[in-house]
């Protein structure tokens, strides 16, 4: 059996590499008895206990141990409660087929309730993967080698350096080889025995902005805050903390207390308790209990008790300050080797500027993405508003309609790429039709009463929303992006953006260009602009405003439909999704200035970047960012009532 001998050799190597312990490496005949020795730990595995078991098992060097651990990790092992024996489990319809671990033969088929499935959690899986690393690093399959490398990066350990270094040379796959070299560098920076190797590895990580590298450096430079009467000799001090600037006096005192260098300060609750214990005949230290609702009386009572010697003296008011002043507070590196920590700190510092620059770049990308989403959602509204002076409250529902069109198309066309290609034009057609129908049946009659179009379209909006609920239910529906849109464009570990957002950005650019072309270069655009500027005059020049209004409305609604598909791809499709965007879209239009593509672009950019900017200042509260953004919009309109790009025309008002 050549495979067996190969395994045997590999395992012998493994055992040596991992434990480097002299001992009788002796192959046993059967694995089951070896497993039974650890039956309890194996049956209910925990990250804390499994490691020693796995190491001992590998030490025992049984030929089947590698396969067993892999299948054990993959939750394919069950235990039979009657005799405690372990089996591999295979799916056999309604039943479970038990396979003997040693012979590989099917033993029985039982109900899943008659055996206990051992479900290793991912912490245990990680431990097993790490233990198997030396063996798997040279596995014939590329995936297994890859998994071994992942295991190293997840649980790095000094013992991995030797096998990894050894396997680098044997590696044939170029990309894996690079990865192995890099992991080796990371391991050496942390664990190398040879100081020169470690220092050079740390130096090599300088300027590296990847999370992995920074993680290693940050681990090396981890500090703890401590307090002492004087700076300890020989300790690797990162910095001395200044009370008042680096930490507050209260925090400093707390450190003192937790280091048992000071007594906890007496809190009002403690004072109260002490007084309660010393009530004598309705009085505490001569002060009637009834008066003790006054804090000053409480102190008076305590001082009386103090004078009588019943309680320990109160801390002087400046005692805390004195105690803090008498001590020195400092951050100490957890690593004692000053040379290493200095090198790591230097390497880390060299990345600071690059990281800041990348963070800004990432913020800009996020802002751009948000702006493009707002632009897509609002541009249709801006057109109808600008050309016709009509506020379409049902615009959000057109967005929703587009998204549901995408969802329905996916139900019929299972290939996500094709369904997306079908969905985009179809969504445009559906919402174009809906928009034209709405314009013809309702809005046409209300041109003289623009405020009432707002209310009538609101009526349509609630009807459409409820209709969507009746048809599709209240649950969010998935609109799945094709795989090629599923990933992210990762420039490095800091700057990155999901592909779907890039696609939305491109879509927004396409529509920007398309609209500009239509408005500036086509007959329709000329007529639209004419109607926007002066409908009466346009009509007398032979332009049919009715037709223009209808087409503009259709166009605006159609773009909303496309926006719906785009938004549905990265978020969720619900009947209320339109309502979530409508107010934001209004603000985009109003801030940007009505009836102008550039204005909408400016409005969307302003709102998108502003929101991301505020979020950046206060990352833990997204709601606050939205609140301040709306407040900003309110104030902005006060000072530029016609928006960033003001336009003369019907919508611009009297």
């Amino acid at each position: 059996m050549p495979f067996r001998t190969l395994m045997f050799r590999a395992l012998a190597l493994v055992a040596l590499a991992i434990v480097a312990l002299p001992g009788p490496a002796r192959a046993q005949d059967a694995l089951q008895p070896a497993l039974q020795a650890f039956a309890d730990d194996l049956a209910s595995p925990s990250r804390r206990t499994i490691e020693s078991v796995v190491i001992t098992l590998i030490e025992q060097d049984h030929p089947n141990i590698g396969e067993f651990l892999r299948r054990y990790s993959a939750r394919e092992v069950v235990q039979r409660p009657e005799d405690g024996l372990f089996f591999y489990a295979e799916d056999a319809g309604a039943l479970v087929r038990l396979v003997d671990i040693d012979s590989g033969e099917a033993v029985a088929e039982v109900s899943s309730r008659d055996v206990t499935q051992i479900r290793t959690n991912s912490g245990v899986q990680r431990v097993i993967a790490a233990a198997l690393v030396p063996l798997e690093l040279n596995a014939p399959e590329r995936e297994r080698r890859m998994a071994a490398l992942d295991a190293i990066s997840r649980s790095p350990d000094a013992s991995q350096i030797a096998p990894l270094a050894e396997s680098v040379e044997r590696e044939t796959d170029a990309s894996l080889k690079t990865r192995k070299e890099r992991l080796l560098l990371l391991l050496q920076a942390q664990f190398a025995q040879d100081r020169a190797v470690q220092l050079s590895a740390i130096a090599a990580l300088g300027g590296d902005t990847s999370i992995e590298a920074r993680g290693v450096l940050n681990r090396l430079t981890a500090t703890v805050t401590e307090v002492a009467l004087a700076l300890p000799e020989g300790a690797n001090i990162a910095r001395v903390l200044n009370v008042g600037t680096d930490l507050t006096e209260a925090a400093a005192y707390e450190l003192l207390v937790s280091a048992a260098l000071a007594e906890p300060a007496q809190t009002p609750a403690m004072l109260r308790e002490v007084l309660a214990e010393n009530i004598v005949d309705g009085r505490v230290g001569g002060v009637p209990v009834g008066r003790l609702s006054d804090p000053a009386a409480r102190i008076e009572a305590y001082e009386a008790l103090e004078a009588a010697g019943t309680v320990p003296p109160r801390a002087a008011p400046d005692e805390a300050a004195q105690a803090v002043a008498a001590h020195v507070f400092f951050d100490r590196y957890t690593l004692d080797d000053a040379e290493i920590t200095a090198a790591a700190q230097a390497a880390l510092d060299s990345t600071q500027q690059a990281i800041a620059a990348y963070q800004v770049a990432d913020l800009v990308l996020d802002g751009l993405s948000l702006a493009s989403i707002f632009f897509l959602a609002a541009i249709g509204l801006a057109i109808t508003f600008g050309v016709m002076g009509v506020i379409n409250m049902a615009h959000g529902e057109f967005i929703m309609m587009g998204a549901y069109t995408g969802y329905v198309v996916q139900l019929f066309i299972p290939d996500y790429t094709i369904s997306l290609l079908v969905a985009l034009p179809l969504a445009f057609l559906v919402t174009f039709g809906a928009g034209v129908a709405m314009e013809r049946s309702v809005i046409r009659h209300l041109y003289k009463r623009p405020l009432e179009t707002l209310l009538a379209t609101f009526g349509i909006s609630i009807a459409l929303q409820q209709l969507a609920k009746n048809i599709f239910g209240t649950q969010a529906r998935p609109l799945t992006a094709p795989d090629w849109l599923g990933g992210a464009l990762q420039i490095n570990d800091i700057v990155g953006i999901s592909t779907i957002r890039v696609a939305i950005f491109v879509l927004a650019l396409i529509f920007l260009a398309l609209l500009l072309y239509i408005l500036k270069r086509t007959r329709l655009g000329l007529e639209v602009r004419a109607v926007t500027q002066n409908p009466g005059m346009a009509a007398s020049m032979g332009i049919n405003p009715d037709r223009i209004n209808m087409l503009t409305f259709g166009l605006g609604s159609g773009i909303a439909g496309i926006a719906g598909v785009a938004i549905g791809l990265y978020a969720q499709v619900t009947s209320e999704m339109g309502a979530n965007y409508i107010v934001q879209s209004f603000m985009t239009v109003v801030v940007g200035g009505v009836g102008n593509v550039w204005g909408t672009l400016a409005g969307a950019s302003l709102i998108g970047f502003l929101q991301k900017g505020i979020e950046w200042f206060n990352p833990s509260n997204t709601l606050a960012a939205q609140t301040y953004m709306v407040l900003f919009v309110i104030l902005f309109i006060q000072f530029r009532p016609k928006g960033i790009v003001a336009l003369r025309g019907r919508a611009a008002g009297d």
Binding site: S46, R47, R75, S112, R113, R119, T120, N121, S122, G123, V124, R126, D150, R154, I211, R214, G215, V216, L217, N218, R219, A222, D362, L363, D366, L370, I373, G473, T474, Q475, A476, R477, P478, T480, G486, G487, A488, Q490, D493, I494, G496, I497, S498, T499, I500, R501, Y570, A571, Q572, T574, E576, N580, K612, W616, P619, S620, N621, T622, L623, Q626
Partner: protein, 428 residues
């Protein structure tokens, strides 16, 4: 609320009378109020609970009813409108004169109904995991308290996954707020530094997750294992998990444990990007026991082949059966008698073991942690013994001195430091 639904109290009740089984000598049937939203934003979750109540009542009637009487369900629709919960509770108790109410989902809706329940001495069973810090005389909490869901899940992160840096992401409302406050205190007590705890709140239905997920990924630069505790509610989860998938964050690198994502929420979703992430509950549909197989089969027969079961449904199952047994033991549906008979009631869990109703009105239940599978079900990877529900958490200084014991102390908010009952009503 929306003003349009304001007056649903008008005539919101629909009586569903089961077919009379036996000629009984009771004057009128025993009435069970079902107070779950059938419209509005919470309908998605709560409609299922209405259905499970109807199924349980039908089963009980088929088994001969209760005290020789038929049980009649009085179903009302509070329409996800919080004030309406108060109005309809009043209507159920005074106009329909129900003997017990099963209902509410969000904490806000429970807090809305509470004052009415306490004023009119009603009885309600609340089936959803919640933030604790409450023990009403008139409510039995059959969902998990924080120590039955959140704390064990964090322990699992600490012990089994070795997580050292925590991101607590939540929707901005009371349950995540209180739970995260408790968890923060708990993590600090476990030696996790304050700077290793990242907290973020997002609005309901939030969709712009890219920055937040980037922030979470960036936590890894600290060189510590990062884990996410998610109290994100409802629809917002879709965008969140999609973004996790897009940024290539696997459950092996940054595990996410969710407290509000169950089978019902996963059904009809693309669970591909979610696989491997975790959820903590007291029940999973995949629990491999005979009693659960029966329950699932009955549910599918009642509601449809594609329907799934979830944790709050089990809570109603246990709650209703305990109530039936308590009424039988007390021989009456009188609220005070039933309450006393409820203390110490035992009923088998669907996941094995026995649930016991404590005198603090919380159940003792096992805690389960499941890994999301691609098919929308959960692999149960950890199951504890039964844990008694703790109304007042031990990890916040103000509530660590509080305890609830309606049997011995007759108080749901008892200060053990001063040995006084803070109040007999609840905070709402």
């Amino acid at each position: 609320m929306t003003p349009k639904t304001l007056l649903s109290a008008l005539a919101a009740s629909t009586a569903l009378v089961a077919t009379p089984l036996l000629a009984q000598d009771c004057a009128e049937p025993i009435k069970v109020g079902v107070l779950h939203s059938l419209s509005g934003s919470m309908a998605i979750s709560e409609t299922t609970l209405r259905d499970v109540m109807l199924m349980l009542i039908e089963q009980q009637n088929a088994a001969g009813g209760l005290l020789g009487c038929q049980i009649e369900a009085v179903v009302v629709d509070p329409a996800s409108d919080w004030p309406l919960f108060a109005e309809l509770t009043r209507q159920l108790l005074t106009v329909d004169e129900v003997d017990v109410i099963f209902g509410a989902w969000t904490s806000v809706s429970r807090k809305s109904a509470l004052p009415v329940l306490e004023e009119l001495n009603g009885l309600m069973f609340y089936p959803v995991q919640y933030e604790g810090e409450e023990s009403s005389r008139n409510v039995f909490y059959t969902g998990a308290a924080p120590n039955q869901q959140a704390i064990p899940a964090v322990d699992y992160f600490l012990e089994e996954l070795g997580v050292e840096s925590f991101a607590l992401l939540g929707t901005d409302y009371v349950y995540p707020r209180t739970t995260n406050a408790i968890l923060e205190a708990y993590l600090l007590s476990k030696g996790i530094a304050a700077e290793d705890i990242f907290v973020n709140y997002t609005p309901f239905g939030h969709s712009d997750w890219s920055t937040i997920v980037s922030d979470v990924v960036a936590l890894g630069a600290g060189g510590k294992q990062v884990g996410v505790i998610s109290t994100i509610n409802g629809d917002a989860n879709v965008g969140f998990y999609t973004e996790l998938g897009a940024q290539g964050v696997s459950a092996d690198d940054i595990p996410v444990v969710a407290f509000s994502v169950g089978e019902e929420e996963l059904s009809g979703l693309d669970t591909g990007p979610l696989a491997g992430h975790l959820a903590a509950w007291n029940y999973f549909m995949s629990a491999d026991t005979e009693i659960n197989a029966e329950f699932v089969a009955a549910w599918k027969a009642f509601a449809g082949e594609n329907r799934v079961t979830n944790d709050p449904m089990e809570a109603h199952y246990i709650g209703f059966n305990m109530w039936v047994n308590a009424v039988t033991a007390a021989g009456t549906t009188d609220v005070d008698a039933v309450r006393e008979a409820m203390w110490g009631q035992e009923f088998p869990n669907l996941t094995g073991g026995t649930a016991v109703m404590g005198t603090n009105h919380h159940l003792s239940k096992p805690v389960l942690i499941g890994e999301i599978r691609a098919d929308g079900q959960f692999d149960i990877i950890s199951q504890t013994e039964e844990v008694p529900g703790d109304a007042w958490t031990d990890f916040l200084p103000e509530s660590s001195v509080l305890t609830s014991d309606w049997q011995e102390l007759g108080c749901g908010m008892y200060n053990t430091a001063t040995s006084t009952c803070v109040q007999l009503t609840s905070n709402y």
